[in-house]
C-alpha cells in the first residue's frame, strides 16, 4: 500500500493588504485597497476584508471600487515589498519541509509526508510562526493530496466568521475526502469553469457528491478525457506530486498602461528601460536566461503590436535586454504616435550559460564578480524599492 501523503496548502490572507497593514497599522480594520489610482486606469490588486464586505473585490477598476465605497483608502502597489515578504514566508515554510511548490506570490503547496508529526499540528505551528515572526495572517488546508488541501483552505476561509483575516486551518483526514467534498458546489473543483458547471447543472449535477456518484463512463462520453479527471477529483483523488523544483516559466513580461497616452519618446524609453530591468531581475530570480526579447505597444485606438528580436546568446542581464527592447522601440514606434500601453517581455527561457573567453595574456576575468554586482542591485531594490538604484545612461 502506498504511503498516505500529507500535503499542506498555504495561502496568505489578503496578502498585499496584510503587508501594507503591517507597515501602517492605522489601516487596520478600515476599508482600503491596494492598486492603481482611480483617476487613471488602475485596478484593485487586493482589498481589505472591511472593503470586501462593501462589495469591493480584486481586479475591479479602482474607479468602480471608489463608487462602491467612497471612503476607500487607496494604497499604491509595492510589489518589491510583497515579493520580499513572500520570500520571508517561504523561508519559514522551508524550515518545515524542503518540498515546497510555489503556485504564486502568496500561495504554495508543502509536502510534509516525511516530517514527523500530525499534519494539522504542523499547519498550526507554521501559521503561528508566520504570525509571530512576520506579523502576517495565513490560512492552511491539510489533506492527503493537493486538490483536497487547496479546497480545504477555501472552505476554511469561508467558514471562519470574523471581521478580519480568516487565519484558518482545516484538516481533512485521509479517507474522508469524498465525504468532505460531497456538499460543495461542483465549481469548487479544478477544471470546472462556468461552462462545465452549466453542462453539469443541465444533468442535475450541482454538488460534488452527485458528481462522484455519476457513472464515470457517462462523464467520459460527455466530457472526453476531462470526464475521467472530473470523476476522480469528485471522489477526492489526486495523485499529482508536490514538486519542489520551480516550474520553468515559458516567458517573463511586464507591461504598463499609462494613466494618459504618452507620445514623448523619452518617457517611453525610460519606461521600457525600467521594465527591462524588472524583467531581467525576474529572470535572475528564476535562475533563467532569455533568448528572445519582445516589446508590446498599444496605440490609443487599442490596436496592439508586438515586435521581437532573437539575441545572439541567451541573457539575464539588464543591459542586454534593455538594448534589445530600446532598439525594438526605435524601430517600431512612429515618432509622436500616442501610446496607451507599453510592455517588455522575454521568451525562449533556459538555464543561463555563458561561454568564457580565452584569457589571452590578461589575468582571467572573474565571472562571479559581475553576477555579484547584479545580485547586490537586486537585493537593494527588493529591500528599499525599485527606485533605490538605477542604471546610469552613458
Amino acid at each position: 500500500m502506498a504511503t498516505v501523503r500529507t500535503i499542506l496548502h498555504l495561502d496568505l490572507d489578503a496578502f498585499f493588504c496584510a503587508v501594507e497593514e503591517r507597515r501602517d497599522p492605522s489601516l487596520s480594520g478600515r476599508p482600503f485597497a491596494v492598486g492603481g489610482r482611480p483617476d487613471g486606469r488602475g485596478v484593485v490588486a487586493s482589498c481589505s476584508y472591511a472593503a470586501r464586505r462593501l462589495g469591493v473585490h480584486s481586479a475591479m477598476p479602482m474607479a468602480a471600487a471608489v463608487r462602491l465605497c467612497p471612503t476607500l483608502l487607496i494604497v499604491r502597489t509595492d510589489f518589491a515589498a510583497y515579493r520580499a515578504a513572500a520570500a520571508d514566508v517561504m523561508a519559514r515554510a522551508q524550515r518545515i519541509t524542503p518540498v515546497i511548490e510555489r503556485l504564486s506570490i502568496d500561495e504554495a503547496f508543502l509536502d510534509t509526508t516525511a516530517v514527523p508529526g500530525d499534519g494539522e499540528e504542523l499547519a498550526a505551528r507554521l501559521q503561528a510562526t508566520i504570525r509571530d515572526e512576520l506579523a502576517l495572517p495565513c490560512s492552511i488546508g491539510v489533506a492527503a493530496n493537493r486538490l483536497v488541501a487547496k479546497i480545504a483552505t477555501e472552505v476554511a476561509k469561508t467558514r471562519t466568521k470574523t471581521d478580519g483575516y480568516p487565519n484558518a486551518v482545516l484538516a481533512v483526514p485521509p479517507g474522508t475526502e469524498a465525504h468532505f467534498l460531497a456538499p460543495l458546489p461542483v465549481s469548487t473543483l479544478w477544471g470546472v469553469g462556468p461552462k462545465t458547471a452549466d453542462r453539469l447543472a443541465a444533468l442535475g449535477i450541482r454538488t460534488v457528491g452527485v458528481l462522484a456518484r455519476w457513472p464515470e463512463e457517462d462523464l467520459g462520453r460527455r466530457f472526453g478525457r476531462h470526464g475521467a479527471t472530473l470523476a476522480r477529483h469528485a471522489r477526492g483523488i489526486d495523485d499529482r506530486e508536490v514538486t519542489a523544483a520551480p516550474r520553468v516559466p515559458r516567458s517573463v513580461s511586464t507591461e504598463t498602461t499609462f494613466p494618459r497616452d504618452v507620445a514623448d519618446g523619452e518617457a517611453l524609453r525610460s519606461t521600457i528601460r525600467a521594465q527591462s530591468s524588472h524583467v531581467a531581475r525576474d529572470l535572475r530570480r528564476a535562475g533563467l536566461a532569455a533568448s528572445t526579447v519582445r516589446i508590446k505597444l498599444r496605440w490609443s485606438d487599442f490596436t496592439t503590436i508586438t515586435r521581437q528580436v532573437t539575441l545572439s546568446s541567451p541573457t539575464d542581464r539588464d543591459a542586454a535586454i534593455r538594448a534589445a527592447a530600446e532598439s525594438l522601440l526605435l524601430a517600431s514606434w512612429p515618432f509622436g504616435r500616442p501610446v496607451r500601453l507599453i510592455g517588455v517581455g522575454v521568451d525562449g527561457l533556459r538555464e543561463p550559460a555563458r561561454q568564457l573567453a580565452l584569457p589571452e595574456g590578461r589575468p582571467p576575468l572573474d565571472p562571479t564578480r559581475e553576477h555579484a554586482a547584479r545580485e547586490a542591485v537586486d537585493r537593494l531594490r527588493g529591500r528599499f524599492g525599485e527606485d533605490t538604484i538605477r542604471w546610469g545612461r552613458p
Binding site: 520553468v248 535572475r284 535562475g287 546568446s313 541567451p314 527561457l349 533556459r350 538555464e351 543561463p352 550559460a353 555563458r354 561561454q355 568564457l356 573567453a357 580565452l358 584569457p359 589571452e360 595574456g361 582571467p364 572573474d366 565571472p367 562571479t368 553576477h371 545580485e375
Partner: protein, 382 residues
C-alpha cells in the same frame, strides 16, 4: 595557342584548380582559368586573390600561347567528353578558345591572359625562406588545428592558423577566442631563424585537400615580403595570401598543471558526449562533466557526462576514468568537445581541469605533440 592533351588529365587539372576560382567577384577574370603553354606542358591556374592553385598537364604543344576562359563552363564541357585527346586552340589576338574532341566542338569566349593576376611560382622564390615537410604529417596537423580558427573576420588574425617555423619544428596553432588547438610537427631540415606566418584557415583546409594521399615531401616557401605562402605538392603549386598581424601568445594560455586530471577512453568519451549533445542542443550546447574519483586512491573513478534541456529532457552517461585530484564539475560546449575528440587519433585521452571557471585541456595520453584548450561555460548563478 595550339595544344593537345588527354581528356582525363585535363579534367583532373580543372577540378584541382576549381577550388581557387572566385565565385562571386567584381573582377570577371577571376572566374576564369588561365591556360598557358609552359615548357612542353599545359599550365592550368586559378586564383581568387586569397589562394591560387597551379597545376600542369602533359600535352603536345604545336603553338605557344595563353588565354583565360570561364572555369566552370570549360570544366563542364570537358567533363562530358570521352577520354580521348582534346585539342585546345585559339588565334591571337582573338580571345576565343576552341575545344575539340572528335566530333564535339565548342568555342568559349575568354579574356586576355594579360588581365590575369600573376601567380608567383615556387622556383622564382628559391632565394627566400623554404622548408620541406612530410605531406601526411602536415595534413594531419592541419586537420587537428584548423577547425579551432574563428569563422568570423572580426579579428582577422584569429581567422587564420599560425604556422611557426622554429628549429626543426613546425607548430600550427588556431584559436577562436574560446578554444585553442596547438600541434607540433617535424621539419626535414632545421630553419636558421624563427618565422611566424598566419595562413587563412580556409586556405589551410584547401592545402590539406590538395595534399590528399601525396607521399613525396612538400616544399613550403614564404615570399621575401612575407605576404604569401607557396607550397609545392607533386605536380601542383598552392599559394595563399598571409594574414598580417601578430598571433596571440598561445603558450601562456595553456595550463601546465591541473587540479584534477582524468584519463579515459576516447571512443567511450566521444560517444557519451554525442549522446549528451542531443539534449544539449536546446540548452546552449552545454554538456556537464562531473568527475567522481574512486573511493580510494588508485581506484578507478567515473566521469558523468550529462545534459539537460528544460523542455526536452536530460541524459547521463558514465565513463570509467583514472582520476587524480578531487571531485569537480565543469561544463563545456558539446561541439567543442566533439571537435577535439574527433581529431585525436589515440585510444586514450587526458582531460585536465582547474575548476569550473578555468581553461580545460584535452590531449592524447601518449603523445605530447597536440594540445587543445577549451574554455568552459558558466551556468546559472555562478
Amino acid at each position: 595557342m595550339k595544344v593537345s592533351c588527354l581528356q582525363d588529365g585535363l579534367q583532373r587539372a580543372l577540378a584541382q584548380v576549381s577550388r581557387a576560382v572566385a565565385t562571386k567577384t567584381a573582377l570577371p577574370v577571376l572566374s576564369n582559368v588561365l591556360l598557358s603553354t609552359d615548357e612542353g606542358r599545359l599550365r592550368v591556374a586559378a586564383t581568387n586573390l586569397e589562394i591560387g592553385i597551379t597545376t600542369w598537364v602533359g600535352a603536345s604543344i604545336d603553338e605557344e600561347g595563353k588565354l583565360t576562359v570561364d572555369a566552370r563552363l570549360l570544366s563542364e564541357f570537358v567533363n562530358t567528353l570521352p577520354n580521348a585527346p582534346v585539342q585546345l586552340s585559339s588565334e591571337s589576338p582573338r580571345t576565343i578558345l576552341t575545344v575539340q574532341s572528335g566530333r564535339d566542338k565548342a568555342g568559349i569566349n575568354g579574356i586576355d591572359a594579360e588581365d590575369f593576376p600573376v601567380i608567383p611560382s615556387i622556383d622564382a622564390e628559391a632565394e627566400g625562406f623554404s622548408v620541406e615537410v612530410d605531406p601526411q604529417v602536415l595534413r594531419e596537423m592541419i586537420g587537428q588545428v584548423e577547425f579551432a580558427a574563428a569563422t568570423d573576420e572580426s579579428r582577422p588574425v584569429l581567422a587564420g592558423v599560425l604556422a611557426r617555423f622554429e628549429g626543426q619544428t613546425l607548430t600550427l596553432a588556431a584559436a577562436d577566442g574560446f578554444r585553442l588547438a596547438v600541434r607540433h610537427g617535424e621539419l626535414t631540415q632545421p630553419v636558421p631563424e624563427r618565422l611566424d606566418t598566419i595562413v587563412p584557415a580556409r586556405a589551410m583546409r584547401e592545402l590539406a585537400r590538395i595534399i590528399g594521399d601525396q607521399t613525396d615531401p612538400i616544399r613550403i616557401a614564404i615570399t621575401p615580403n612575407r605576404s604569401q605562402l607557396l607550397a609545392r605538392v607533386g605536380e601542383t603549386e598552392f599559394l595563399s595570401r598571409l594574414i598580417d598581424g601578430t598571433f596571440p601568445d598561445f603558450r601562456q594560455i595553456i595550463p601546465r598543471e591541473f587540479a584534477t586530471r582524468l584519463e579515459l577512453g576516447r571512443e567511450a568519451f566521444q560517444n557519451a558526449v554525442r549522446r549528451a549533445s542531443y539534449f544539449a542542443r536546446d540548452n546552449n550546447d552545454v554538456v556537464r562533466l562531473t568527475v567522481h574519483p574512486g573511493e580510494e586512491e588508485f581506484m578507478p573513478g567515473t566521469v558523468e557526462v550529462s545534459a539537460t534541456a528544460a523542455e526536452r529532457g536530460n541524459s547521463q552517461s558514465f565513463v570509467d576514468a583514472s582520476i587524480t585530484g578531487p571531485e569537480t564539475q565543469i561544463a563545456f560546449n558539446a561541439r567543442y568537445l566533439a571537435d577535439v575528440l574527433g581529431v585525436l587519433k589515440q585510444g586514450q585521452v587526458v582531460v585536465g581541469v582547474n575548476g569550473a571557471n578555468q581553461a580545460g585541456v584535452v590531449k592524447a595520453s601518449t603523445a605530447e605533440d597536440y594540445t587543445h584548450v577549451i574554455m568552459p561555460m558558466v551556468i546559472g548563478a555562478q
